[in-house]
Subunit: 150 residues, 2 copies
């Protein structure tokens, strides 16, 4: 691989990193004190994918250490946004269920960040985002799979 190819991937990952930080900041700014994007992300995952996930599944989904997920879930549980129930199929494990207030919290966050997204969309049209999406999806899938292969 020529050096400019390495540099090219580096550049893209650099841009991705900056966009991640900026978008994270937009969402974070809309969350009430004491709640982080990590909390939102778990709730969002439980809604989008399906609740009843185990903590370990969640940790894997977010590439985070198990202990971090324990901590994040404790916060969500304390706030009443999730409920931790025993896993009937495995007594070592638990399953995480989102509550109605948890769902409301997630929806409120999404509504709150809408104006920010509109401001971005005003300059970067949705059709360009639409073109971007499948490329990013495939890149993500490739990297995700390669990670699992190790």
């Amino acid at each position: 691989m020529p050096e400019n190819k390495v540099a090219l991937f580096f550049q893209v990952f650099n841009e991705v990193g900056i966009i991640e930080q900026l978008s994270r900041a937009l969402l974070q700014a809309q969350l009430p004190p004491g709640f982080l994007v990590s909390h939102f992300s778990v709730l969002n995952h439980l809604v989008r994918v399906q609740d009843g996930r185990t903590p370990l599944e969640l940790a894997r989904a977010f590439q985070t250490a198990k202990t971090t997920m324990t901590h994040t879930l404790a916060g969500l549980d304390k706030a009443g946004y999730v409920e931790m129930r025993p896993n009937i199929e495995d007594a070592r494990s638990k399953r995480v269920w989102i509550s109605d207030t948890g769902r409301a919290f997630r929806e409120q966050a999404i509504v709150s960040v809408k104006p920010d997204l509109e401001r971005v969309a005003a300059e970067f049209p949705a059709d360009r985002v639409l073109n971007l999406l499948p490329e990013l999806e495939e890149l993500r899938k490739i990297m995700d799979r390669q990670r699992d292969e190790n």
Copy 2:
């Protein structure tokens, strides 16, 4: 803005977040114990942009709190990878210079991650990355500017 537009931006930022985590993990895995991507990123910035930056400039460039940059720079200084000198133009301030060992550290990290990038490139061709880059750059610039406007 229709709901699907909100969802579209959400999706893209979600993909971006996952790619960021995966690429960060690849780089992190190549760094010696005690060094994080945050350390590498600062060194990389000093090389790419120019060294002699002030800590505050660096903090802004990375969207991080000033105190975080103080901490990161202390680690780099302790390792001998940067040198902190007084800012002649402003006695409150400092300027950060990368050392030869700091440059070597950065270069080594880049070399080490090359195989990982090659593995990704084998499945996601460079020309697609090349198409992605300007779009991401523009999206980043827009979001960056909008942040400054507030």
